[in-house]
Each structure stands twice: as C-alpha cells, then as structure tokens.
C-alpha cells in the first residue's frame, strides 16, 4: 500500500515538474534583457540620410500587387543627422518563433539589397535576432536606400 502511494506521489510530482518546466520553456521573453537594433542608412552615393522615417514591425501584410503594410507597429522613428538609428525592444526567446523583425520604409524610398551579385529593391528589410551580441546589440550595418 505504501509502495503504491509512493509511486502515485512520484508520478504526480513528475507531472507537476514537467508542467513547470514546459511553462518555463514556453516563456516568450528573456527576462532582464533588451535587444538593440542599430544601423546606418545611406543613399546611393554613400551619404548618410537624415530624418528618414523607419517603422519597426513584426507583422507585415504582403498583399498582392501592393507594397507591404505593417499590421501592427512597434516603433516609428527618424534617423539622426548622421543617418543612424537605434531601436530597443525586450529580448524574445527563440522558442516563440517570433524573433524576425522588419524595418519598413514609406514611399518613395526603398532599400537596395544585394543578393548573388544582383541588386533588388525592397520596401522592407528583414532580419532576426540570431546575431545578438553579449550586450544585446544586433548591428544591421549600413543599409542603402534609393528614391523612386
């Protein structure tokens, strides 16, 4: 009898511990941690672009035959006189599958991105937090824009 109750107790304990661990594993944010996205916007001549409006979002609507639209906006900021930007958000865990962000431009400006030696124009720039440094900084480097 005592053996059966001890088996039941250990089974319940195992379930409770498993539940607690799974709840912990499902945490969407990393406590005590902020991610910082930094970068610089330049024009085709390499000059810094000041006062350029940038929208940070995780929720882009890629409609057919239309420019992508942010369904929800995290921040809208403007670049500094030196074309630089800095955006800070709470760090997300990878398990949330929600570590992808988009920097969105408004018309008539587009990012000029290179892929396999070819240039492509996009209204948005996508990135993840995979390359986070120890201080939470994700440096997006220098991003080139063109005006339509």
């Amino acid at each position: 009898m005592r053996k059966i109750s001890s088996i039941r107790f250990s089974g319940v304990s195992f379930l409770l511990i498993s539940l607690l661990l799974s709840l912990g594993a499902c945490q969407e944010f990393i406590h005590n941690s902020f991610d910082t996205f930094t970068g610089k916007i330049v024009d085709v001549e390499g000059n810094p672009v000041a006062d350029l409006e940038l929208t940070l979002t995780q929720d882009l609507d890629f409609g057919v035959a239309q420019a992508p639209v942010a369904k929800s906006i995290i921040y809208t900021i403007k670049t500094t006189n030196r074309g630089e930007f800095r955006l800070v958000v709470p760090s997300r865990t990878d398990i949330s599958f929600n570590t992808e962000y988009f920097l969105l431009l408004t018309a008539p400006v587009q990012f000029e991105l290179e892929d396999s030696g070819m240039s492509f124009l996009y209204r948005y720039y996508s990135f993840t937090t995979a390359g986070r440094a120890a201080d939470g900084v994700i440096d997006l480097g220098t991003l080139k824009i063109v005006r339509e």
């Binding site: 944010f29 406590h31 800070v88 709470p90």
Partner: protein, 213 residues
C-alpha cells in the same frame, strides 16, 4: 507628499512632547531583552526619479506592504516585508508596446532602531535591502526586470491603543524612505545602460502595526 508627512511628524512631536518626561518610564514597562514581534500593514506610494527608465516609463499608483518586525527590547530590530504597487506603462522607446499591464512586487528586509519620543510616539531609523521586480504582461508572455533596492528611511509609530485585551498595542505608522535601485543584471546596450539600470525613489508609507507584548 514628503512635506505633508514631515509636517505630520512634527505636529505629533509637538503634541506629544509635554508628556515626554513622565511617559518615558511607562514606555519602558517591558524588560530589556524581552522578545517582541509586530506584524503590520500599510499603504505605500513610491515615485521614481524622473530622467531614469523607471521614472519615465511607469506611472505609479498606490500599493500595499505587509511587514513583520522582530526585536529584543532595547536592541536594534530586524524586519521583513512584502508588498506590491500598481503602475501603468507610459509611452516609451524600450518596451515596444508589447505590454498593457505591469505590477511591481517587492520583498526585502531591514534593520531598525527605535527611539521613544513620548509614551505614544516613537521614531525609528531603517536601513533596508530588498528586491523589486517589474513584471510586464502575463505568463507565458511575461517580461521581468529585477532591481536590487537599498533604502534608508524614518518611520514614526504613534500608539493608538495600549495593551488591548492585555495582549498588544495598536499603532499608527507613517514615514518615508529614500532608495537606490540597481538593475545591474539587465542586459542592454552601453548607451542606455545607466538610464535603464539605475534609479532613485522616494516612498511614503501609512498604515497600522500590532505590537505583541
């Protein structure tokens, strides 16, 4: 808030002082070394220094604190506390608009030394260390920031009723403290580090305490 508390302390001092000399003997009716403990509860209001992350990001509301003091009569005492305070999130460039709700529970302990001013009034100095948590959102979408809290303050005890049923004294407590908050475990870029990790705060407390004899 601080000025009003100070005024209240001074007013009570003034009212109580004439009875000071004759009441001191009554106050010491318990023998030195006698163990006493005193549970208490009160309303708290803390405001953070502007120009810091905590000060600029959160609008503070009223909170409460539960505490328990332990003391050997005539010696410095030790107390523990638990509390929480309501707050709201202001527009800010750090939380990304991800959260609608925030709460700030805190726990800690303090050393105190109490000096009787009159039969009814006593003043105490407190030095404390605790942990303040800033909890955004609800699980599993919680985001928690932890701060260590070093505080010092002055609290007045005013005895409303003595030896109720021969068991305890009922006291009114009011006072304030000044605290330094340090969130040095918070990971953030170097430019915003001091702004986010450091803050000072002023806190007022008003409540009741039961001193078991």
């Amino acid at each position: 808030m601080i000025r009003r508390s100070l005024f209240a302390v001074l007013l009570l001092l003034w009212v109580s002082f004439p009875a000071f000399s004759q009441d001191m003997k009554k106050e010491e009716r318990l023998p030195k070394g006698q163990f006493t403990f005193s549970p208490g509860a009160g309303l708290v209001y803390r405001t953070f220094e502007k120009g810091t992350f905590l000060g600029d990001t959160y609008g503070m509301g009223l909170g409460f604190r539960l505490k328990m003091d332990f003391e050997f009569r005539g010696y410095p005492g030790i107390g523990v506390y638990f509390g929480t305070q309501k707050a709201s999130i202001q527009s800010n460039p750090f939380l990304g608009g991800f959260f609608k709700e925030v709460r700030m529970p805190e726990t800690g302990m303090y050393l105190y030394h109490q000096v009787p001013i009159s039969e009814k009034l006593a003043l105490r100095g407190e030095l404390g260390y605790g942990k303040l948590q800033v909890i955004h959102g609800l699980s599993p979408s919680r985001f928690i920031l932890n701060y260590a809290n070093f505080s010092g303050g002055i609290v007045a005890n005013y005895t409303l009723a003595k030896e109720v049923r021969g068991v305890f004294d009922l006291k009114l407590i009011f006072g304030g403290n000044y605290s330094f908050l340090n969130g040095n475990k918070i990971v953030i870029n170097s430019l915003d580090r001091t702004y986010v990790q450091r803050a000072t705060a002023v806190q007022g407390i008003f409540g009741f305490q039961i001193g078991y004899l």
